[in-house]
């Protein structure tokens, strides 16, 4: 056993060395150390004009980033799976991006706001479960998926996977992920996907992989759904916005907020409060790989090259609510799509 222990030590040391070398090529680029936003951008709104029921904590714009990253990640996957199978997808790069960006957004708020412990717990739960899921997938794909991989998605099962991922992304933009209908997906995998066809080994292997994924997620979604109903209230479906002209409007929350706010800004409306807040609001913009990363009236926190699409990168920035209209207009003029406005 002594020789085995020596070998274990040697292999662990080498593995640590390799891991160290790999951290030399980061997946998220912070713009500065620690907090980069001016303190006055993080002041709470003393006298909100927004009705009390529509007010949400100001730090939530930052805290919702990790959650939304778990929408961006499947979105990237859905896009990538159109042209190649999931086997070569850089799952571990996404894990790294999740944790690194979480640290950066948290650096902005940790001294300015009281700690929202239950939100951090939630982020850690989804972070850890995604890390486990992606690590298992990456290992499985490297060990087994690679043996049957066809490169392009030529089997019905690989195409099914791409479809399922696209539907999933469309769903979670407006719903909690755990309400996704996994059981119907599982049934249709086995009933409406043809069993015969070329690349038989790949077909069988993918069936095994998808069956495992769908059943595991079905069970986990039930568990989380149950836990979430116990621990958190159902979220509001709208975001209240007070415009400079002192009118209160209710915009759709989450994914469609960016578009609605963009339309208002394009019409020349300016924002006074969003969900009762006047402090900095976070948004992400998709920019060509060598495109601009800094914009007037805002501060950029970090950039992330899209792990699955080297021609583009995500720029995550923050601007005070009163500057948002100008920023949106400017981005629209530059033809840079706003990926998301984190509406608290």
């Amino acid at each position: 056993m002594k020789r085995l222990y020596a070998l274990i030590l040697a292999s662990l040391a080498l593995a640590a060395g390799i891991a160290l070398i790999q951290t030399r090529s980061p997946t998220t680029f912070a713009v500065g150390q620690g907090r980069v936003l001016p303190a006055e951008w993080l002041q709470p709104n003393p006298n909100p004009a927004t009705p009390k029921a529509d007010i949400r904590p100001a730090d939530q714009t930052f805290l919702t980033f990790p959650e939304w990253f778990l929408v961006f990640s499947p979105e990237e996957q859905a896009l990538a799976f159109q042209n190649r199978t999931s086997t070569a997808f850089p799952f571990m790069a996404h894990v790294a991006q999740f944790w690194q960006s979480y640290r950066i957004v948290n650096d902005q708020i940790k001294d300015a706001f009281p700690v929202n412990a239950s939100y951090h717990v939630m982020i850690c739960v989804i972070g850890v479960s995604t890390t486990v899921e992606y690590a298992l997938k990456a290992t499985y794909e490297a060990l087994v998926g690679r043996l049957t991989d066809t490169g392009a998605p030529i089997t019905a099962e690989d195409r099914y996977n791409a479809e399922y991922m696209a539907d999933y992304v469309a769903f979670i933009k407006d719903h909690p992920w755990y309400e996704f209908d996994y059981s119907t997906r599982f049934k249709s995998l086995w009933t409406s996907t043809p069993l015969v066809g070329g690349s038989f080994m790949r077909k069988m292997e993918r069936r095994y992989f998808l069956t495992t994924e769908l059943i595991a997620k079905l069970l986990y979604a039930k568990l989380i759904g149950f836990g979430t109903h116990q621990a958190y209230d159902r979220p509001l479906p709208t975001t209240a916005v007070v415009l400079v002209k002192d009118s209160l409007v209710h915009l759709p929350r989450y994914d469609r907020f960016a578009q609605a706010a963009g339309t208002l800004a394009a019409r020349g409306e300016a924002f006074k409060e969003i969900a009762g807040n006047t402090s900095a609001i976070l948004l992400s913009v998709l920019v060509p790989a060598y495109g601009p990363t800094a914009f007037e009236d805002s501060r950029t926190l970090f950039t992330q090259p899209l792990a699955s699409d080297p021609t583009r990168k995500r720029v995550v920035l923050a601007a005070p609510v009163p500057f948002l209209d100008r920023l949106l207009v400017r981005l629209g003029q530059a033809n840079l799509p706003v990926e998301h406005v984190f509406d608290y």
Binding site: M1, K2, R3, L4, Y5, L7, I8, S11, L12, L14, A15, I18, Q22, A142, L143, L147, Y208, T211, T212, I215, A216
Partner: protein, 578 residues
């Protein structure tokens, strides 16, 4: 050393034969996966297709280690087909490989890799390379006392043994398990009789609660024999490796309350005198022979057969209490001595300050045992014990950790098991990894119960002054001996079992002799004595002061063994000098 320690790692990783336990499986996994990660990345930097090279060895190693682990639970490798069942299959396999205990007994794939097939045994006398004569080197468990003997005989019947004793014109020395620590089983150029083949049970009466055995049998063998009848040995030592003949010759004791030296549980014995006569002796029949046999180190005869008392094999529950050393005597007399439910008791004095003690008692109970087996399961190795003993003996900080961290944790665990279990420890758990530089050795001192404080204070002072690396001082209680000529319990006594670490160089042995003689003087000053199965450092004067009836024994030896046939290092030291 366990068999699997000797095999190369490649055998472990690349052959699907045999069994491995959970720990080994996890260890190999901790080797395989990082290795895969390293090679995958290194080869990937060369060229992504080069990584294909590592898949065959990876899958083969995963298959082999998984197969070995399945074997451990008496399952064949066909269970791996389960992996094709989504979700449940991999979960079951992960459970079976990583968490399911192996079968306790041997199975169709081999013996339990964690279990030893038998108690630790001292090896047969060592052959000398290239020597044509029958000379052998006999050593004891400490390996500190090699003695060259002219020949080794291992009789299988009592008749054969009698013939050897009657016909031999050489000197004779007797050995059983050879767990004494000072050459009590050997004498230079003598014929060494290895008693371990005389291991039969002659008669067993569960109703009468007696058993008659040949003297070469080990206590663990008797335990196996009587356990099915819910019986237990009345008096024996904690470790069950010893032979009955050896234990009787040193008049051993255990941790029993209300008992004492083993002589109190011996109904009768058959001894072979130097002329080959077989004599039946008991406290009432031939008492002079009986009391010159038990505890008398083969001075006048060889113990060949013994009839022993048995007791009910009750379940016992452990409890403990920590106290100052100076309050122990009071505690013992008020809580332990008269408590009929206490079966075992010992007190451990904590070095290096010798100020605190932990009293451990095992009380008769009707509760369900906390262990699965009735008898002590034997492990192939005791890595944890070895680590702790090493840590305790390394420094004062190690001793502090034991007193304040390890022992409180160890004793917090509820322990209930049978009397046979608690008297069934294997000496292997005390064995050091190597004796090249140092080894663990025992000594023992006895004083009358009322002298506990006086002697323990003297002892502590001697240990501290000589910087003796004491690992533990265990206190036992014994009632007075029934009459052995070399009785160490001349009255009701406390025994101080000292377990210490010493260097194996000659200078270290000399240093031990110095403080040992000081400690013997301390015991003698309190009217006590010291124990003889250990290194014979005592002067002849000390020996006779501790054992005043030795003169009587020597007189009997002159009569019954006029040619000084029965020898060992003890008699070579004290009888010859007489």
């Amino acid at each position: 050393m366990a068999w699997n320690d000797k095999l190369p790692v490649s055998y472990l990783l690349f052959t699907p034969k045999g069994r491995i336990n959970r720990f080994t499986y996890w260890s190999t996994s901790v080797f395989i996966w990082p290795s895969f990660y390293v090679l995958f990345n290194l080869l990937g930097w060369l060229s992504p297709s080069a990584t294909w090279l590592i898949y065959p060895p990876l899958f083969w190693a995963l298959y082999c280690t998984a197969t070995k682990r399945l074997h451990d639970g008496n399952r064949s490798a066909h269970w791996l087909w389960m992996l094709f069942l989504p979700i449940a299959g991999p979960l079951v396999i992960i459970f079976l490989l990583g968490f399911m205990k192996g079968t306790f007994q041997g199975n169709r794939f081999g013996p339990n890799p964690d279990a030893a097939p038998d108690y630790f045994k001292n090896p047969d006398a060592e052959k000398i390379p290239n020597l044509k004569s029958e000379e052998r080197i006999v050593n004891d468990v400490t390996q500190l006392n090699p003695v060259l003997v002219s020949k080794v005989a291992a009789p299988q019947t009592i008749e054969e043994l009698r013939d050897i004793i009657r016909t031999t014109d050489k000197f004779i020395c007797i050995g059983g398990g050879r767990f004494s620590m000072g050459g009590q089983t050997a004498s230079p150029n003598a014929l060494h009789i290895d008693m371990r083949k005389l291991d039969k049970v002659i008669a067993f009466s569960p109703g009468e609660r007696t058993i008659k055995v040949q003297a070469g049998i080990r206590w663990c063998d008797i335990q196996k024999h009587v356990d099915a009848h819910d019986l237990s040995i009345k008096v024996m030592q904690t470790y069950a490796n010893f032979t009955v003949g050896g234990s009787l010759s040193v008049n051993c004791h255990g941790r029993y309350i209300g008992l004492g030296p083993v002589i109190l549980s011996v109904r009768s014995l058959d001894a072979i005198l130097a002329n080959g006569d077989l004599v039946h002796a008991s406290p009432t029949e031939n008492p002079d022979i009986f009391f010159a046999c038990v505890g008398c180190y083969n001075a006048i005869a060889v113990i060949a057969q013994v009839e022993l008392d048995l007791e009910a094999n009750v379940a016992v529950r452990r409890s403990h209490v920590k106290m100052r050393r100076d309050t122990y005597k009071q505690y013992f007399f008020s809580k332990v001595r008269e408590n009929k439910d206490v079966v075992f008791h010992n007190g451990d004095i904590y070095p290096p300050l010798y100020r605190n003690m932990r009293a451990v008692i095992w009380i008769r109970t009707v509760e369900k045992p906390t262990v699965k087996t009735r008898l002590m399961p034997l492990a192939a190795a005791y890595p944890l014990e070895r680590y702790f003993i090493g840590a305790f003996s390394k420094s004062a900080f190690g001793k502090w950790r034991r007193e304040y961290l390890i022992d409180p944790l160890v004793f917090a665990v509820k322990r209930i098991h049978y009397r046979n279990y608690e008297a069934g420890y294997d000496v292997l758990e005390l064995e050091p990894e190597s004796r090249k530089q140092c080894t663990y050795v025992l000594q023992e001192y006895f004083v009358a119960v009322e002298k506990f404080d006086a002697f323990s204070t003297l002892m502590a002072e001697i240990f501290q002054r000589h910087k003796v690396n004491v690992i533990n001082v265990s206190i036992r209680h014994a009632k007075a001996d029934s009459g052995s000529l070399l009785a160490w319990a001349k009255e009701e006594v406390f025994a101080f079992v000292v377990w210490y670490k010493q260097g194996t160089a000659d200078a270290d042995k000399g240093a031990v002799a110095v403080w040992t003689r000081e400690l013997i003087d301390a015991a003698l000053s309190q009217g006590g004595s010291y124990y003889l199965p250990y290194q014979p450092h005592a002067t002849a004067e000390q020996f006779h002061r501790a054992y005043p009836r030795a003169k009587q024994l020597f007189a009997l030896k002159k009569k019954l063994d006029p040619s000084f046939k029965f020898r060992n290092v003890l008699w070579d030291t004290y009888y010859k000098a007489d």
